[in-house]
């Protein structure tokens, strides 16, 4: 499944719900399936600071040339958001990650989480994921 297909799938899953709370219920459930970061990576080094909730993000480039993310957050809604990002971006090549336009966030009505002033740190998280991809891209090209 491509990143785009993953986004479509998420949009479809969310489209079943009209009510905000139902959407959030789904989001929370999805957070439970997050590829959990190895406890020894749950350090300040891997911390992305939002003002209110904390996110730890780890990335590794495997031999298949793809980047695999794992993460965690102390807030379950944030964890849900992160798990969606991972579904879309994890297991892809650096190029794919860098070229993916994350339109699904808007489509499922969670745009507000993308506000640069939002205190959940989602924006810095996406930045961080793309940064990892960039670093790995340089690595693979050398």
């Amino acid at each position: 499944m491509s990143a785009e297909q993953a986004q479509q799938q998420i949009i479809e899953e969310f489209s079943a719900y009209e009510d905000w709370l139902d959407k959030y219920n789904l989001l929370i459930e999805m957070g439970k399936d997050i590829p959990v970061i190895d406890p020894r990576h749950k350090t300040n080094n891997h911390l992305i600071n939002g003002c209110q909730s904390r996110v730890w993000l780890h990335a590794e480039l495997r031999d298949d040339g793809k980047v695999y993310f794992s993460a965690d957050s102390d807030a379950v809604i944030t964890r849900g958001m992160v798990s969606l990002l991972i579904r879309v971006l994890s297991g892809r090549t650096p190029d794919e990650i860098l070229n993916t336009n994350l339109h699904f966030i808007d489509a499922i009505g969670l745009t507000e989480h993308l506000s640069p002033t939002r205190s959940n740190g989602l924006v810095s998280m996406i930045k961080q994921m793309k940064l990892y991809a960039q670093v790995f891209q340089l690595k693979t090209k050398n």
Binding site: L21, Y24, Q52, S53, D74, A75, I77, T78, S119, N120
Partner: protein, 408 residues
């Protein structure tokens, strides 16, 4: 119950309360951060800019004179509101934070001392902590922090023990913005004065809720913000005893605060102008006067009675929520309910409440050391104002229940 305000009528004059968010009627319970404004306040601002606006003092033309008179009348009115002896003991600032920074700075200059000591409490807002901390840090001094009792009230024994070490000043909040605790600032002032120690009281969370009689408290400085008391942003009040304000050097320079300037030297204007540098926020000062008169018209007694009902009803309903923990349960506490639900992050709870139309604040509430003290990352805080209703407290409790179920 005859003193209760007519809340339904009163809500009519707060346009912001009639909104819906996400299709749900807004329940605004973030009044500790800032209150909504009655139409009278909004209209005062509008009226000022439509027909009175001018720069004040020194101007001889009609509008300038009109604005100046209104501005100085507002000063007198604020002085009367808190029963200050003299109107020049009222300095208009940008807010509580600026007022405290002003005093911390000028007091530090006045004292000009090595190893100064400042006594605060563990429940201070950053604004009444960091200014003092930075001063003592830069001068090899010490920030002394009086601890709390389990119910969130001040540990007076600890406070008095620290007082014996003779700090240079006491800076204490009147009401805690997280715990709602009302500190015995009159008694504290009295024992501090017995040792010759001046007292600054941070009234940011008090002025909208309880009458403040500065002569009764007898503190040396009292500060508050307009925007937390139904007034606009960008204006605050610094009350200082004349003897202190006379003695302290000015803080900022320029504009009305000078008397005579040459390139070599400057003499400063008399009180209150000495502490008001630059063009003041005239419109906001007039609107603040209107806000305080809204409070007086509603009546502190009525406000307190209603808010007390809201708070105890809210507590009662919320205490039925499984695994809820309250922070701050001191007797007589103000209209603030801070809580967490075990195993649930306050951010999650706040986000879901928001989706249900309920505005609460989550996080550390600019009181990180208090959070550390309580051993938690933050709380969910519902803070009430006179326009909140018992029904809103019910909907809060229902929503918290529902959110908790989703999050568990």
């Amino acid at each position: 119950m005859s003193t209760l305000p007519d809340v339904d009528a009163l809500r009519q004059s707060f346009p912001a309360l009639a909104q819906t968010v996400y299709g749900k009627p807004l329940i605004y319970l973030d009044n500790g951060a800032t209150t909504q404004k009655p139409l009278s306040v909004i209209n005062r601002l509008k009226q000022y800019y439509k027909a009175e606006n001018a720069n004040i003092h020194r101007g001889v033309h009609y509008l300038s004179q009109l604005s100046t008179d209104a501005f100085e009348k507002a000063r007198a009115s604020v002085a009367a509101h808190i029963n200050a002896r003299q109107k020049h003991e009222i300095i208009f600032t940008r807010g509580t934070t600026e007022a405290i920074n002003l005093i911390a700075h000028s007091f530090a200059q006045h004292l000009n001392k090595n190893a100064p000591k400042v006594l605060i409490t563990a429940m201070e807002h950053h604004s009444n902590l960091v200014p003092w901390q930075q001063w003592v840090l830069q001068n090899g001094g010490r920030l002394m922090v009086a601890g709390l009792k389990p119910d969130g009230s001040l540990n007076m024994e600890h406070f008095e023990a620290l007082l014996e070490e003779q700090p240079d000043i006491v800076a204490i909040t009147h009401v805690s913005n997280v715990l709602g605790t009302v500190n015995p600032v009159k008694a504290i002032t009295s024992i501090a004065h017995a040792r010759g120690i001046p007292v600054l009281v941070d009234g940011a969370q008090a002025i909208a809720h309880m009458p403040v009689d500065i002569q009764d408290i007898d503190c040396d400085f009292y500060v508050f913000s307009g925007h937390k008391a139904y007034g606009p942003m960008g204006v605050g009040v610094l009350y200082g005893k004349e003897v202190w304000l006379d003695r302290l050097p000015p803080y900022q320079f320029g504009g009305e605060m000078v008397d005579r300037v040459s390139f070599d030297t400057t003499t400063f204007n008399e009180l209150p102008f000495k502490f008001e540098a630059g063009t003041p926020n005239v419109g906001a000062v007039l609107a603040l006067e209107t806000a305080l008169s809204f409070i007086r018209k509603t009546g502190y007694e009525a406000i307190a009675a209603h808010e007390h009902n809201l708070t105890s009803y809210g507590h009662q309903l919320l205490s039925r929520v499984e695994d809820i923990e309250f922070y701050g349960t001191a007797p007589g506490k103000e209209a603030v309910i801070s809580f967490n639900i075990k195993g649930i992050h306050p951010y999650d709870l706040g986000t879901l409440l928001d989706k249900m139309g309920i505005a609460v604040r989550t996080g550390h509430h600019c009181a990180q050391p208090l959070m550390d003290h309580l051993g938690i990352p933050g709380t969910v805080r519902a803070s009430m104002a006179v326009y909140n209703t018992l029904n809103e407290m019910e909907r809060l409790a229902e929503a918290v229940n529902k959110a908790a179920m989703m999050l568990r």
